[in-house]
């Protein structure tokens, strides 16, 4: 079992003054699925990017630990090799590199020089995973995310997740822009990963995704920190009452940016 812990995390964007995260605390273990919900502009994506190590964010205070070891000083590639994965909201497009080439390089970056995954072994696993995600073989030969539709990009993030098999996967609004069929496919992929050696932190606006991936714990973020945690029922309650209802119930002085 591994743990991921965020302690009193304060973060701002590199070029800005304003603190976005104002003291986030979170602890999870492999075998668990946590969901973070919250209105727009409340710092959910900043939290996921900060955990992953996006250089555009600056940690002012606090710590992030994997198995009790701080990873705050580590560059993003080392964090990834330590077991973190971030399914991004806006994955980069990289022409000239095929999807398959890229995924194989990612897998092999975790292995020693004399233990690289062979091409047949890789292709077997790739074929299997593509099937699970209703993706065609052709997708793996296309250039990385280049010209992919929004839905294809999301699926491709889950494909990478399943191929790389990280300890902790953060899914940053993996449901945004997905139709119901694609949502089911993406959920199937994540559910297939469920197990004692895998944990996931799912960031979403909507409860809908959580109908397909049942979380063990639900956290609500507002104004840059987690304001309430509970079980899966909390998400249902939020769906009924809205964030404004919860804010007022908790007596918070938080301005909601918008509710789409």
């Amino acid at each position: 079992m591994s743990t991921l812990e965020v302690k009193n995390l304060h973060v701002k964007a590199k070029e800005e003054k304003k603190e976005i995260l104002t003291g986030v605390n979170l602890k999870m273990s492999t075998g668990e699925i946590h969901a973070i919900m919250g209105p727009n502009g409340t710092g959910k994506s900043t939290l996921s990017e900060s955990i992953m190590g996006n250089p555009n964010y600056e940690i002012l205070e606090g710590d992030i630990l994997i198995n009790g070891q701080s990873i705050v000083g580590l560059p993003v590639d080392q964090r990834a090799r330590a077991g973190l994965f971030l399914a991004m909201q806006y994955p980069a497009e990289i022409p000239g590199i095929t999807n398959a080439e890229f995924i194989r390089a990612a897998i092999n970056s975790r292995r020693s020089e004399d233990d690289q995954m062979s091409i047949p072994e890789f292709l077997q696993k790739l074929d299997r995973t593509l099937k699970t995600l209703d993706m065609t073989e052709e997708m793996s030969e296309r250039y990385l995310n280049e010209g992919f539709s929004g839905g294809e990009k999301k699926r491709n993030e889950i494909l990478q997740l399943m191929m790389i098999e990280p300890k902790f996967a953060i899914l940053d609004e993996i449901d945004s822009g997905l139709d119901i069929d694609a949502l089911k496919v993406v959920s199937r992929g994540v559910n297939e990963m469920r197990g004692p050696e895998f944990g996931s932190l799912i960031i979403t606006h909507y409860q809908r995704l959580l109908n397909y991936i049942k979380p063990d714990v639900v956290h609500v973020m507002m104004g840059g920190k987690i304001v309430k945690s509970g079980d899966a029922d909390l998400a249902v309650k939020l769906e009924d009452e809205g964030y404004a209802g919860l804010r007022d119930e908790l007596g918070l002085d938080v301005k909601l940016v918008d509710e789409e």
């Binding site: 250089p55 022409p95 000239g96 990612a106």
Partner: protein, 466 residues
């Protein structure tokens, strides 16, 4: 240019040199006497001597190019214009003088020929020392030989085409080449004959202070096709060498020619070339041009689209590292109806290198319905390096269309972050982005060249992160 050279040192791996005493040399500098000597040494007919002498007069009158890189470091009086290292062109590697053969062995040339070429030739300094064509291709009537031999054996063909696309008056370096030219490749592909397997020539400069002035003439007759590949290397010397080639390619109606160059000169070579093709009715001329190394490279291969429906393309990469000035591009001259052209230029620079794109697209009056596409992508890898895009478009016909895109960027932070977020190291991620950037080029190369080019770029990239 194959993947067979074993050692990958910390330095330019083709930089070794051999102590080979020339059989014959004209010594330093150039006079009319030397021009006559070169011609006499080759036992040339009078018309070629006359052409040389006329060119020499033009050469004396023309100034050096006034645009682009600084060429003041070239001392034309110090150059050795002609040296002969072997007294015959061998048809078997066993007959090539041992020392020279060793050089080409180290470059992997004989092995490449066995493995994947229809024909191969090797030029050492001024002259071709080896050439061979596989029997099955020879039977089709293709002529593939060094240009010196072609003057003797096919004087009518040579006379008809030599110096027509690139006249001596074109520029000073072309005039110089016309006066002192030696070696180079001559290819004639008869009507309807299609050669899909590449034919290769390998050009090697070995001595310092020397000039290589090869002259290549290709004629692809009606409906024929050919795929020609050339590679170039030289040793590292403190004295500079000059490579001033002239290439003329005649693509007759409905014919196809692809001309691929991978130039990887050492950092003491000035490479100033004039390459020009004429594409007649419904024919296609494709330049694929890779430039790594050298001290200065100036090269703007062109296609004169003189026949209706002719097509011309240029796909190039240029990589300028430390102390390298690369000024390359292409010219597409639309001179007939419904012609089309495409220029895709990829440039990279680092460690203070400078890489410029300089190109011209011209639509002459009779170019109704023609189309041109120009795309220039550059990655500048550090603050010390520079790049400029200098396009020149001239449009004399209202019924044409033209697209131009230019993009200069650094290695994208966003792409780097994305790759690294999957566990890939910064170094490997940078390499992947660069390889992806040049992929449209490498995928057009014969496999062995692609492998080699990737390796070379990797090698140039070493130490670029950290």
């Amino acid at each position: 240019m194959t993947n067979t050279v074993p050692e990958v040192g910390g330095e330019y791996k083709y930089g070794f040199k051999d102590d080979i005493e020339p059989i014959y040399t004209t010594g330093e500098g150039l006079t009319e006497e030397i021009v006559r000597e070169i011609s006499a040494a080759k036992n040339e007919p009078q018309w070629m001597l006359d052409f040389r002498l006329k060119s020499y007069e033009i050469y004396k009158k023309l100034p050096m190019p006034k645009f682009g890189p600084d060429l003041s470091g070239i001392d034309l009086d110090k150059i050795n214009y002609f040296r002969r290292d072997s007294d015959k062109v061998a048809r078997s590697w066993n007959d090539v003088p041992e020392d020279i053969k060793k050089t080409f062995d180290r470059l992997g040339v004989p092995q490449a020929e066995r493995e994947y070429l229809a024909g191969s030739s090797a030029q050492y300094e001024s002259e071709v020392v080896y050439h061979n064509m596989q029997k099955q291709f020879e039977k089709t009537g293709i002529v593939f030989m060094d240009t010196d031999s072609a003057v003797q054996k096919y004087p009518e063909l040579v006379k008809k085409y030599f110096g027509k696309l690139v006249p001596p008056s074109d520029n000073k370096l072309a005039a110089l080449n016309s006066a002192v030219w030696s070696g180079g490749t001559f290819i004639y592909v008869p009507k309807g004959v299609k050669v899909t397997t590449p034919i290769q020539s390998y050009f090697r400069i070995n001595a310092g202070n020397s000039g290589q002035f090869e002259r290549t003439l290709i004629i692809v007759d009606e409906g024929a096709s050919v795929n020609y590949v050339e590679g170039c290397t030289a040793p590292n010397y403190s004295q500079d060498s000059l490579h001033a080639a002239v290439v003329e390619v005649n693509v007759l109606p409905n014919a196809y020619c692809r001309y691929t160059t991978i130039q990887n000169w050492s950092d003491n070579v000035y490479s100033l070339e004039t390459k020009r093709a004429q594409a007649l009715e419904n024919s296609t001329m494709e330049w694929v041009d890779g430039n790594l190394g050298s001290k200065v490279t100036m090269k703007y291969p062109s296609v004169y689209l003189d026949g209706q429906g002719a097509r011309g393309t240029m796909l190039s990469i240029a990589f300028a590292g430390k102390d390298i000035r690369s000024d390359t591009g292409a010219r597409m001259i639309h001179h007939a109806k419904n012609t089309s052209s495409s220029i895709v230029s990829k440039s990279l620079c680092k460690d203070g290198g400078s890489v410029d794109y300089r190109g011209e697209v011209r639509f002459d009056r009779p170019s109704d319905g023609s189309f041109a596409h120009v795309e220039c992508d550059t990655i500048i890898m550090d603050e010390k390096s520079t790049s400029d895009t200098i396009p020149f478009n001239e449009i004399l016909n209202g019924n044409v269309s033209m697209e131009h895109e230019a993009k200069v960027s650094k290695i994208s932070e966003e792409q780097l972050y994305y790759l690294m977020s999957r566990g890939i190291s910064e170094e490997k991620a940078t390499e992947m982005i660069i390889m992806g950037f040049v992929e449209p080029f490498t995928k057009e190369l014969p496999m062995e060249y692609a492998v080699e080019l990737n390796r070379l770029i990797n090698y140039q990239m070493e130490g670029s992160v950290g």
